[in-house]
Amino acid sequence: MTRNTTHTRFVLFLILCFQGCFLFSQSLNDTLHLPQVEVSGNFTLRNDGFKKIRIDSNILVQYLSADLSTILSQHSTVFVKSYGNGSLSTPSFRGTSANHTQVEWNGICINSPMLGQTDLSQIPVSQFESLEILYGAATVARTSGAFGGVINLVSNPDWNNSINVMLAQTLASFNNYTTDACLAIGNQNVQSITKINYSNALNNFPYNNDQTKSTEKLSNAVYVLGGITQEAFFRLSKKDILTARIWYSINNHQIPPITTNTENVHKEEQKDQTIRSMAEWRRSDSNYYFTLRSSMVDQFMRYTLEDNTWNHHSYSWANRFRLVWSGIKKLTIRPGAEYNADWVISDSYNGEKTRSTIGLFAEFNYSVVRWLQLSLVLRQDMIDSKFLPFIPALAIEYKPFKKINLSFSTNLCRNYRYPSLNDLYFEPYGNAELKPETDYAIEAGTVYNFGKKDKGFFLETTLTGYYSKIINQILWKPNSSGLFEPQNISEVHARGVEAGLNLAWNIWRFRFSSSNTWNYCRSTNEKPLFPGDSTMGKQLIYTPVNTFNSTLGVSIIGFYGSYVFSYISERYTSPDNSTYMPGYYLSNIILGKNFQLKKITLSLQLNLNNLFDLDYQSIANRPMPGRNYALMLKFNFRK
């Protein structure tokens, strides 16, 4: 008890000491990024009745050596289910599953066609500059089946750049070393960007093992993550831009045992090797522009358990054409077509499996009057020569005042998700007879903002309510022989409220900013699967009812700091809600200073994670690290 009090006092002291130098730099814009709108923090992009937000480079740059799961769990309402540092982390939106989330890299889907999801721990923040998040019906214009949302990793060229060199080294607790480098060279017509990341972690953090009643070090937890991206942008003429990108990444990670299994630890590891590439041609004119894109994603995964290995190799070829035409007054039409093909060769499938998708889609945005905007999105997909039911989405945005940035919007949609290749073909239980899942969703929200992000007082509030009914949801359920088999049997209702509050203000020469998000979500099973099923009406497992994130940032003359607080309420671990993981609060602190020496910027940054050294588990019996540190030194030269 005494220790607790002393501890608390010390932390309070620490905070008060640093309060004066908690800084949040506006000049921290990643130099590679040239956004159309200068923003800091989460910024709501809503102008067509659909919900989209952007997490900008100002935030991302403070997490240069982290992975995507850290950003999403601390700065968005997306819930990340994480098995620990460097281990499998999957996102879920609004009470839907990871399969209902599409992760994109500059617009191309990078989900595994086998699993239908992405492991966020394998995506380093240093490989993209901003993050675009689309919620619910907003995804229909991009893809079918992303009932929850789309997370898009974005990188863009800065045409004014001539040379930009960045080199960063991070030393973190538990023998974790990360090196990031970036080189951007070019002129008004050609830009080349090369990004390299390499992390090497023993990840052997100490934790309290309840089984042995002692402090142990996590074993079998080493990971190595590496990647290189080469991007080239060509301005062929005033109207034409050609973009080519290739991203090669490797990830070798051991899979640590659960706390009850520390006796003769099994050899368990996963090796991933991925090549993502794309080429895009964009032509823009006075009243139209179009993009033509082709991409190839090659994903190899090898899973080893003791002496057994399983190899999975998939190739995804995606092609897309999209036109944006605003030839008719007040009306913008965005028709498009896509053709995608997937091939998978897997030790878990009987022979090579393929899938081809043809999609036709169109968006219509019509400004009826100044205060009313209508959006209609239509999509028709054909998968393996079978038509998926028609997908429509409709949105209305209402702006009652001319001079006040207040808008109300509502949208509704019907969406379908085709089963993943594992659902269809996993040997011997895959079920080729599966039907697509169906989602009926409705959403309503409001956004209000006042002032400018960079100067003076700024306020932005958002409030969104959603309701989604998913039927024919695929569930791996034991059949009469007791073997798991995917079936279209589950019905899930997910509803909730998302609220956001962003503030920025000046006190003397300090610039303060505060970004807060809260998500309330009830996602429940609505169909009994067998007699005596006690899961009816119960919250889905590992789906928190409440999540809250808050960031307070301060900056002054090159110093910056932020305090990041996140709360996750209890998550049930059994579908009958008989067991649960208690909710927890985590606090992190970031402190840094940028030294400007003519064209060189030197940055020194300290990240303090799990400030209060909370002994917690996010998933049952998977230990999480206590208080830990990361120190980053960054060199940046820009001409």
Partner: protein, 373 residues
Amino acid sequence: MILNKKNIYTSAASKFISILLLIPVVLSCSKTPIREDSTTVTPPPVNKSYENGIFVVNEGNFNSGNASITFINTKDTTVEQDVFKTHNDRLLGDVAESMLTFNNMGFIIVNNSNTIEVVSLKDFKSIRTMTGFSSPRFMAIFDSSKAYVTNMNLSVSVIDLTTLNIKKSIPTNSWTESMIRFNNYMFVTTIGNMGLPTAQRNARILVIDTKSDQIVDSIKTGKEPICMVMDKKDKIWVLCTGGFDQVEAPTLIRIDPSLRLVDRTFTFSGGVPSRLCINNQKDTLYFLNNGVYQMPVSATVIPTAPLIPSNQHLFYGLGINPTNGNIFVSDAKDYIQNGTVYQYDQSTASLLGTFPAGRIPGSFCFTTASKKK
């Protein structure tokens, strides 16, 4: 004036920040470790002793560490959940495969934790956690000082029951499962090498000479010989599932252990049979194949209709109470919620009782039986 106004703003803002900072600080100071917990308040232990009753071994989910033991007191039919955790203030482990009792001790084989938890049947307190196994499955007592444990990972462990240590490991190069003692030999079923496809796995029964603890012979069986029982005429019955991926039809074979030969083979027309059991008189076989089937050892064909149909239950574990012949069968439901145990009369097949259990109730251990032994 302007300065004053600015000060007011500044102090208000400072207060706001202080409050903002303080809220999380206060909230964050909880020192209770965040661990999985039960939403229902666990009642205090209802049993003073665990010497008479039925243990339900709840496997729990693989890689989740939620295995548990449920105790059914046969006298007053009360049910106590999570007995191990209650008395030992720690989790049982990951995937509890089976349990047996001997000499007033309970041995719980925890497969994916690579342990055998030895508890006193008096108070269920841990006596010892035996380690050094490689995915242990089942344990069989040979005599008062020696026992054998099958492992998925290529060995049979020999246990010294006086020290509760592993004495020796007999390499098998294959996944071993069920065991039966016949004279000075242990008959051990083996599924073959896990790394190979089922069709190539060498399924057989290994014969271990207990004097030398060496494999001295083997008998070929159908694919995946998972359970074995001995009848009143000392014939060994082996249930072979045909492989999890059903590469061949499931079979029930009878072996003459003295000749070490298969002398009878019954082929199933369908389904995935499992959990072969025998009653105390050793004249009637029971197994699961969607429903519960009953088959006299003298039968010439496999029964076509179940004694107890599953009625959409997922029958997963089966046990025959040696004292009265009652059938205990567990419903694992969807494998992810808590299961239920049903007790049926062996002749009328009428339901005698329903007991709540833990996650994936897979096997039973009847304590009165070991006492008689």
